[in-house]
Symmetry: C2
DNA sequence: GAGTGGTCTAGACCACGGT
DNA sequence: CCGTGGTCTAGACCACTCC
């Protein structure tokens, strides 16, 4: 492989090389060099080449046909292939909007029955409750009520959340990586209180979103209820495979 | 490996063996035998063992820690890990409801501007338009208008769709495998016409769903607009990783 | 038959986590 | 230090596609 750029695994480096080649020099349905050719071209074992190609296949850049070869797929331009977005910030950016988050309140309290069920913990366990207003291009879009188990985020404060996206804080400060997020979407009606916060009118149709997030040990680390303005907010998602 | 059950790759067989072991004999956070132990226990190369463990990790059965070991996660009982469901039938089944589909109309026609854009084809290209009513436990839930490029499904008829789920027909009869599905969810208001078909009232809030489906060559094979009763329908989804 | 991707091996070295 | 998972090699045989 190219002498430079060490430290990273060779198959990752090959993924990057091939991504660039595909994007700049190849057309949809073009055949890539065979695994054996790539193997000798880049002086890698075929096993390593295959790991890289598997990666590219998962990302939708190529597809394979047994006995025929590996071919370029055409997602490529679909840039924002955030397959499985569950971040407001990312969603808005991918739509070309400028996202902003205002923390309306941040407090610790004891879990009531409802929250305890959502977080899979006992009633009266200490939790953090965060209320946030999400805006896009300065327009109020969504209201989020997030519940976190205090035991997993003992030192969290509002200030940290102002500085970085919540999931970044989870990962960097508390070593909590989001592995799975379950969401339930439904339609509802704007309450008087929410209407005031979202500068809209009571009784308007809203999109409701309930999210449960799990870490790599499959413990619940977040339970969030969101209410989004039905006239402004659309939810985009991509299923792969 | 066990003599029986050949034909299938060894790593798939190992995946099944370990799945059973994990479900029946192990607890959350138990450590699995090391890769080298599994390798000698089952008389497989470590490479093959690792492929199996990667598979289990992707499925959420285990998680790994460099230098420590491979540990049991606790999804296991969450059976319905249909990570990325985009099938009404599957969604309803997973909620314990009995799904049913009535085909209201099936016809070929020429694409207008709107459909042509949705399918990424030229105006006036021949297409199939299917209107279906989806019910759960005999209650009307959702109305779907599906547009397909006739060129990819030249012999499709309503009868075939009555017998099997649409994506099964795509795969078995036309060799079209769904690789990616993009969906956009939004909130809307029931039209008079839809209200009649869904036995509901005009002006009621509805969940609107727009789906674009791609095959493994990333060609669009389906464009569907759905309208679901806001009071009955919830949309469940799971993001992985 | 020649060429492709799919599976599998036996062994090596590295990086990380604990003792 | 040892044992763990992470990376990588060189080579083998199989299954599929096309000529």
């Amino acid at each position: 492989m190219n002498a430079a750029n060490d430290g990273r695994p060779l198959y990752n480096q090959l993924v990057d090389i091939l991504k660039v080649k595909i994007e700049n020099e190849m057309q949809v349905n073009d055949r890539l060099p065979s695994e054996r050719e790539l193997s000798s071209q880049y002086d890698l074992s075929r096993t390593t080449v295959r790991i890289a190609l598997n990666e590219l296949e998962l990302m939708g850049y190529v597809h394979r046909q047994h006995g025929k070869g590996t071919f370029v797929s055409n997602v490529v331009k679909g840039q924002t292939d955030l397959g499985g977005t569950y971040s407001f910030t990312e969603q808005m950016k991918s739509l070309g909007k400028v996202p902003e988050t205002k923390i309306l309140s941040f407090k610790t309290m004891k879990a009531n029955q409802f929250v305890a069920e959502g977080l899979g913990i006992d009633v009266d366990t200490e939790i953090i409750k965060i209320k946030r207003l999400r805006l896009a291009d300065d327009e109020p879009m969504m209201l989020e009520r997030t519940y976190l188990p205090l035991s997993k985020f003992p030192t969290l404060d509002a200030e940290a959340l102002q500085k970085a996206p919540m999931y970044d804080v989870f990962r960097k400060d508390y070593n909590q990586v989001v592995k799975v997020a379950d969401e339930v979407l439904s339609v509802g009606i704007m309450t008087a209180n929410d209407a005031r916060l979202l500068s809209f009118y009571e009784g308007a149709p809203v999109l409701k979103l309930k999210r449960t997030t799990y870490n790599n040990k499959n413990e619940i680390i977040e339970y969030t209820l969101s209410v989004a303005r039905g006239d402004k907010f659309t939810y985009h998602l991509r299923h792969q495979r």
